[in-house]
């Protein structure tokens, strides 16, 4: 990675701390708007620019999930599709290697974008020193003090765990270590059935690990619509992935050869034996040791930085974006906040983030995507709802792809036809959700979706059919 620490200026219009999807987007946007910008990143050379998303999150997991999908196709579907494969084996090392290459390519792309836009890259650990002074312990040794007219804090978050389940980096691991497992355990318990836990369950199952996923809440993907999560649960069970919901972990016993995880299930306590334990129970903000107190920046009880609708903290001219500014912890939320903060600082007309219209995607198979309220939330919020559903089993493109498991469910307000929420499960639905997110942003009603010509044959037809179903006139079911 290029060394950019030489030639650090004494002051910048904007100093961005952290080069993840919130920080690097803010830096680029601010530079586009004519600001003199420096972006400080501490993680090199351990990772590249791009933060957890590019290095240890969104991107490498997607690469591994593609390996998993291909493995499943070869093992189970290829013959049906007319492709006979004689003898094959799986190589997690090669899959991990490929995922690292994908990450590496993208992180280099960010360095290119920084250089192109004139963003100064400073490698080191930053700390606020009060009066908008930023102290940096440079990775190359030495220190620098930079004065900033404005500051954006984009330091992200890191995996957390429960007491008694501390990470040891080998057997009790987080998503970070799971991405570089080159020797697979025979069995793995994954605690937490959010998107991170679900995606790793999918990957390790495909590579032959005996996986059990444990979730304290009543269904997998607790934030998603219950019915949608049910489709994934059936698919997981079909693949013999152990699914234990309403089950809380109590204690962990480490023996020389195995891990014994005691859980409290509806039927009583039981002990799960495994070789590896992946804790995917949430993330905690990187808001310590940043000198936030020197600027009087307020945090909430859990340590998230409090911000206003334009991402400004309680200190004027200091902004926070992405995970560190609070959930939902999604790269696209952070990037969007980065743009808003940069535009706000540059005095460019901008808009507040619409937190009700942030799509969420989980890339296990079948994929899950959603935007807006679940049916349950919509009813709880007092809406009179109409629900329209359409199954992938009635969609030509899905059947041709050998992916009949899936559905689109639209929750609409029965009075005005407002699209309150859209929930999807199935092949490539993470791409389909964009149509409905745009539709919601434009305030389309279900009529506009139903009346829009959708190309045939496409998976997107399921969205149109679900909209027609809310009007009680679907064609293909």
């Amino acid at each position: 990675m290029a060394k950019k620490t030489a030639g650090i200026k004494d002051s910048y219009d904007l100093v961005v701390i952290g080069a993840g999807p919130g920080g690097y987007v803010a830096a680029i946007r601010a530079a586009q708007l004519g600001l003199d910008v420096a972006c400080i990143e501490a993680k090199l050379p351990e990772g590249g620019l791009g933060g957890v998303c590019l290095n240890w999150g969104c991107i490498p997991t997607k690469a591994l999930l593609e390996s998993a999908a291909l493995a499943r196709h070869v093992a189970h579907d290829a013959a049906d599709f007319g492709v006979k494969v004689k003898g094959f084996s799986l190589d997690i090392g090669a899959a991990v290697n490929r995922s690292r290459q994908v990450s590496d390519r993208l992180t280099k792309g960010i360095q290119y974008l920084f250089d192109k836009n004139g963003v100064a890259t400073i490698l080191g650990r930053a700390r606020l020193a009060g009066g908008k002074q930023v102290e940096v312990d440079l990775n190359d040794g030495g220190a620098a003090v930079i004065s900033a007219k404005n500051i954006i804090i984009a330091t992200g978050s890191r995996p957390k765990t429960f007491p008694g389940f501390e990470f040891d980096g080998e057997r009790v691991i987080s998503s970070r270590e799971a991405l570089e497992l080159t020797r697979l355990p025979g069995s793995m318990v994954i605690v937490g059935a959010g998107s991170i836990g679900m995606e790793f369950a999918d990957v390790f199952d495909a590579f032959g690990v005996n996986v059990t996923i444990v979730e304290a809440l009543p269904h997998l993907l607790p934030l998603e619509d219950e019915e949608i999560a049910g489709v994934v649960a059936r698919s997981f069970k079909k693949r013999k992935i152990g699914v234990k919901t309403k089950t809380a972990v109590k204690s962990l016993e480490k023996t020389k050869t195995t891990l014994e995880v005691t859980v409290e299930a509806p039927a009583g306590d039981e002990t799960l034996e495994c070789d590896s334990l992946l804790m995917a129970v949430g993330r905690t903000p990187n808001s310590e040791n940043l000198g936030l107190e020197t600027e009087g920046i307020k945090l909430d009880e859990q340590g998230w930085i409090e911000v206003d609708e334009f991402c400004q903290t309680s200190a004027e001219g200091i902004y926070a974006v992405g995970d560190v500014a609070g959930p939902p912890m999604l790269a696209h939320k952070g990037s969007h906040e980065g743009m808003i903060a940069a535009e706000r600082i540059a005095g460019f007309p901008t808009h507040a983030l619409d937190k009700n219209n942030i799509p969420a995607c989980t890339y296990c198979h079948p994929e899950v995507a959603s935007v807006g309220r679940t049916e349950k939330q919509a009813r709880a919020d007092g809406f009179e709802v109409k629900v329209g559903k359409f199954p992938f089993s009635a969609n030509g493109r899905a059947l041709a792809a050998g992916a009949p498991d899936g559905m689109v469910k639209i929750v609409a307000d029965s009075k005005y036809g407002e699209v309150l929420g859209v929930h999807m499960v199935g092949h490539n639905v993470t791409e389909l959700v964009a149509e409905t997110t745009l539709g919601r942003a434009l305030e389309t009603t279900i009529e506009e979706i139903a009346n829009t010509v959708h190309a045939h044959p496409t998976l997107a037809e399921t969205v149109m059919e679900a909209a027609l179903a809310t009007l009680e006139r679907p064609i293909h079911i």
């Binding site: 007309p349 009075k415 005005y416 407002e418 434009l442 305030e443 389309t444 009603t445 506009e448």
Partner: protein
């Protein structure tokens, strides 16, 4: 250089205006400073001058058409100049309002010097939120907003869009449906279904009628009114008026009952500043000057010329100024600053023989005084029945700012002053 003739925003409340008459025809030569077109705003008729010279190349809005502020009405340019870009759209126009100088003919302003700098473009939208949603015929609105508006009877062209480019979105309709300012404004402009077989003639709303509807539905709804009535013996006030007019006969000046009432109210308000107020949401504005509005009927509505600082003016001056204001009000030639912002208003229907009535407060004012006819009535004076000229007046109060006792004390002073009016001539 081509010059756009634009429907400028001539008062804070003006959202649209009507082209009354084109003074120049297409092809007519135009000198800088020439009046090109007459427009009608919500309260007045204005003449629009060209800031540039050339030929009136294009008339884009026909006479009698009503268009949103910012709309280009026409283009003045040299005979051979390419103006196709100028004809492209009215979006740009709002930003270049400065290129035409609307002159409030009524305000009696002299024509501007032709080389004077263009006035600051106060009406140019400063943010997208201020942009009118209407772009000529097309109202930009989301499908959801359209649907909500149609089901709730909200006229889209009465709603300000807060979305990108002034697009009307859900929250704008929700805001319009809130009890309060924009909502009722919208309701006033929404068509109302009247089921009846009786034949009728459709009379289009004039700008002034629209403004009245918009303003007054904002009143009785959100403004909690209460009413206080008192009967005043007018004998001495009428005597005073007769004497004054007799003594003034040589000068041709005259003092009317309205002027006496205005003077009395002003004096009483000085004694009761807690009635000379407006309710401003998070505070009450207690005015330190008494500006009295007088409701005046005009052929298609009413207008309320405002006599500034009435408390410091003598009867003769009040009389003189009021007459001038009324005259120009009837001709629709008042400038906005001459009919807006009264701290207290008098509405007199006595000449129509109305015994008494209650008047609707015109926000943001907190009070209005309704004057009934002065009638001969038997009253008991010192134990004896006498016939006296009596007048019933009713004060409407915005209870958010003025309480019963405050209003009553003011009325008592008002009554006492009218019944002992000699001090008014001081």
């Amino acid at each position: 250089m081509a010059t756009r003739i634009v429907m400028s925003k001539l008062s804070p409340t003006m959202e649209e205006g009507r082209v009354l008459a084109w003074v120049k025809k297409e092809g007519d030569p135009v000198e800088s400073g020439d009046v090109v077109v007459e427009v009608e705003t919500d309260k007045a008729t204005m003449e629009v001058e060209s800031m540039g010279s050339g030929v009136l190349r294009a008339i884009l809005v026909a006479e009698n058409a009503t268009v949103p502020t910012g709309t280009i009405l026409g283009v003045v340019a040299a005979e051979d100049e390419d103006i196709t870009e100028l004809l492209g759209g009215s979006e740009k126009a709002a930003a270049e309002v400065a290129s035409t100088a609307p002159v409030a003919a009524a305000a009696g302003q002299a024509s501007q010097e032709t080389d004077a700098p263009a006035p600051a473009p106060q009406t140019a939208p400063t943010t997208t939120i201020e942009t009118p949603a209407g772009d000529g015929d097309r109202v930009k609105a989301s499908p959801l907003a359209r649907r909500m508006a149609s089901e709730k009877g909200v006229a889209l062209d009465s709603v300000r869009g807060s979305g990108p480019g002034g697009r009307i979105i859900k929250r704008d309709i929700e805001a319009a449906l809130q009890p309060g300012v924009p909502a009722t404004a919208a309701a006033a402009a929404a068509p109302i279904e009247i089921e009846s077989g009786v034949p009728f003639q459709r009379v289009e709303l004039s700008q002034i009628r629209k403004a009245i509807a918009r303003n007054l539905v904002q009143s009785l709804g959100p403004v909690p009114h209460f009413f206080l009535t008192v009967e005043v013996d007018m004998a001495r006030a009428l005597e005073l008026r007769a004497e004054l007019n007799q003594s003034l006969e040589a000068t041709g000046a005259k003092v009317g009952v309205n002027e006496i009432l205005m003077k009395t109210a002003a004096q009483a308000l000085i004694q009761h500043p807690n009635v000379n107020v407006a309710f401003a949401g998070d505070h009450i504005r207690r005015f330190t000057r008494v500006d009295i509005g007088l409701a005046v009927a005009v052929p298609d509505g009413l207008i309320t010329p405002v006599l500034r600082d009435a408390g410091s003016k003598g009867l003769l001056q009040i009389s003189d100024e009021t007459r001038g204001l009324i005259e120009r009000g009837r001709e629709k030639k008042l400038a906005p600053e001459e009919y807006q912002g009264a701290t207290f208003t008098i509405s007199n229907l006595g000449m129509y023989g109305i015994d008494e009535f209650t008047a609707v407060i015109n926000p943001p004012a907190a009070t209005i005084l309704a004057i009934g006819a002065t009638q001969e009535k038997p009253v008991v004076v010192d134990g004896v029945i006498e016939v006296r000229p009596r007048m019933r007046v009713t004060l409407s109060c915005d209870h958010r700012a003025v309480d019963g006792a405050m209003g009553a004390e003011f009325l008592a002073t008002f009554k006492a002053m009218l019944e002992n009016p000699l001090r008014l001539v001081l």
